[in-house]
């Protein structure tokens, strides 16, 4: 074990660790480049405004799928945001009780449940009683996925609020609930908005829980009790089809999805950063 050998091992390990970064960089670069180069040609105004057409017909787009994705994410927000954020506030305020610890552990374990299993649950919960695939079922599946993660993030953000703020408010005679709502939540609000945007971005990219809850739809649909198209399921169907033209559409739709998710992510990050810099 000479010094030379030890130094060599040091350099070797450094090189290997740096090379490990490449394992992430190469697929990422390849993916972005191919989505961009294969997808950009198919983008046109019509791609955003029209519905899919049968094989062989020229044109057609994913307009109804974009609307469907936004629609179901909206439904998911209606159910998921109040429960997720509320449960997070509960965990921050009462999380140190025995019940609170059980709730926290449950939400942690729930956040690891595969999304396809959540799809089965939404199927049993909504599709079976309603006897049809629907946007509502898709939205509920997405909401079930949102809640646990949102609860945990919200808890951490609420806990970041300095304790002195709460004490000051209570000392001034402000009621508990008013302190929680107007002082604590108000202070944590910026972070919570960021967390919400990130969970919305995640929900918009989900495919598996929609396959047999919202199914798919070749037409425009604005009713919550009807099967609904989504960008992700549309990409899946285009990709596994045997038609060249549909493969090109899959790439274009993937580009649209990446832009949608990326914009939400960027917005979330921008908000988080501007909030941090204001604090300093």
């Amino acid at each position: 074990m000479t010094l030379l050998w030890r130094r060599l091992a040091n350099h070797l390990a450094t090189a290997l660790a740096a090379a490990a970064v490449l394992v992430a960089v190469i697929p990422l670069a390849s993916l972005f480049w191919l989505v961009l180069s294969n997808g950009v040609a198919g983008l046109s105004l019509q791609f955003f405004t029209s519905r899919p057409l049968p094989v062989g017909e020229q044109g057609g787009g994913v307009g109804n799928a974009i609307v469907g994705t936004l629609y179901m994410v909206g439904i998911a927000c209606v159910f998921g945001l109040p429960i997720g954020v509320g449960a997070g506030v509960y965990l921050a305020e009462r999380g140190d009780t025995r019940v609170g610890r059980v709730v926290r552990f449950t939400s942690e374990v729930m956040s690891g449940i595969p999304s396809i299993v959540v799809g089965i649950v939404a199927y049993g919960l909504i599709v079976v009683p309603m006897r049809r695939f629907s946007a509502l079922a898709g939205g509920v599946a997405l909401a079930l996925l949102m809640v646990p993660t949102l609860a945990r993030t919200t808890e951490e953000l609420v806990r970041l609020v300095p304790h002195a703020l709460r004490e000051a408010s209570l000392a001034l005679g402000v009621a508990q609930w008013k302190t929680s709502l107007r002082i604590i939540l108000r202070t944590a609000l910026g972070g919570i908005v960021t967390a919400i945007l990130l969970s919305v971005a995640r929900a918009a990219g989900e495919t598996a829980p929609l396959l047999f809850t919202a199914l798919n739809n070749q037409y425009w649909n604005f009713r919550p009790d009807q099967p609904t198209a989504s960008l992700t399921v549309q990409i899946f169907n285009y990709a596994i089809s045997p038609y060249e033209d549909w493969h090109r559409k899959a790439w274009s739709a993937a580009l649209v999805l990446l832009i949608l998710v990326g914009l939400l992510d960027l917005l979330a990050r921008f908000l988080a950063r501007s909030r941090l810099s204001r604090k300093r």
Partner: protein
């Protein structure tokens, strides 16, 4: 703490306690509503977890009339038309692809984490963090698209023929290079779980106390020796927990795997062969399932998947928490 006593006053026996000592009235109407709301919201998580179990169980029950749970888990035939429901090919495929993904992703992500926390110059860190966050944000169906049209042709054209020629004596690398199969699924999964394992590892490495490193370096260790002998042993449980979280993600990952595994309910030794996984068969057959029994079989597979992921997640969280809590306890 002041606030916890105040809370207990606000919640229950407040009127009795506060009455004689203070002139203020007991818990206000608003406070009682707020307390009730809190409990309801917290309870909703437990209700949701209960609903998950209940729904899976109810949907899976009709299967019990056809096969016993044990025969379901150990059967290797899957033919819904003739009521043959054996989960083994899917369990096997899930295990093989996940193990493959872990073999690639764990060393790569630990290497990334070590590089980022211990070695990289300051300007590289935000770049690599951004990279990891971006990998985590890409929807799985886009990974599937990439896997299907980029990775699979590459495996079919170059990697699998090469592996077959070089290591063809092993049963793992025999058979025609199809592209679609365990190998493709394992590699796509590896890329997808990389950010999970890497981000947990980074957090864990950051909790390693600086004096430990300084001590090792002060004794004359090179940087790598300091990492190998002090930093990595200290972070071991946390990294293990992160890996288990990654494994949990790999087990449940659906779309990308469905698109590249070839969807054949069979058990093959060769990594080149097409297979099937638990989530993939649910994704492919659920919407078109005919009758309660087939739905039951698919929900049964979901139950298996659910059980696996709950156990993995529980163990992983306990491991990661243990690391995060460890140093604090010692200080106190």
């Amino acid at each position: 703490m002041l606030d916890s006593t105040e809370k207990s006053v606000g919640v229950g026996s407040g009127a009795l306690l506060a009455g004689p000592t203070e002139e203020r009235r007991g818990p206000s109407y608003g406070d009682r509503v707020w307390a009730g709301l809190m409990v309801a919201l917290g309870g909703s998580i437990l209700v949701a977890a209960g609903l998950v179990l209940l729904m899976l169980y109810r949907l899976a029950r009709p299967l019990g009339a056809v096969v016993s749970p044990l025969a379901f888990l150990s059967g290797s035939d899957w033919d819904p038309m003739s009521n043959a429901f054996g989960a083994l090919p899917f369990i096997y495929g899930t295990v093989v692809t996940s193990v493959l993904a872990m073999l690639v992703a764990v060393p790569a992500s630990v290497g990334m984490a070590v590089f980022l926390v211990e070695m990289a110059p300051a300007w590289v860190r935000p770049v690599v963090s951004f990279l990891i966050e971006t990998l985590a944000a890409i929807p799985s169906v886009v990974y599937g698209l990439w896997g299907l049209f980029v990775l699979v042709p590459w495996l079919r054209g170059s990697v699998e023929p090469f592996l077959g020629k070089a290591f063809g004596f092993l049963p793992l690398f025999q058979g025609p290079p199809i592209g679609l199969g365990y190998l493709a699924a394992g590699l796509v999964l590896a890329v997808m779980i990389l950010p999970t394992i890497a981000s947990v590892s980074i957090e864990v490495l950051k909790t390693v106390p600086v004096p430990l490193r300084e001590g090792a370096l002060g004794l004359g260790a090179t940087r790598w020796e300091a990492i190998r002998m002090t930093v990595l042993p200290y972070a071991r449980n946390g990294i293990l927990g992160g890996s288990l979280l990654g494994l949990g993600r790999a087990l449940g990952e659906t779309m990308a795997v469905t698109m590249v595994i070839g969807n054949s309910p069979s058990i093959r030794a060769s990594l080149f062969a097409p297979g099937y996984t638990l989530p993939a068969v649910i994704a492919n057959e659920f919407a078109e399932a005919t009758g309660a029994v087939q739905i039951g079989a698919l929900a049964g597979l979901g139950l298996v998947l659910f059980g696996l992921s709950v156990v993995l997640n529980a163990v992983a969280r306990l491991l990661v928490q243990g690391v995060a809590r460890g140093p604090k306890r010692r200080r106190a």
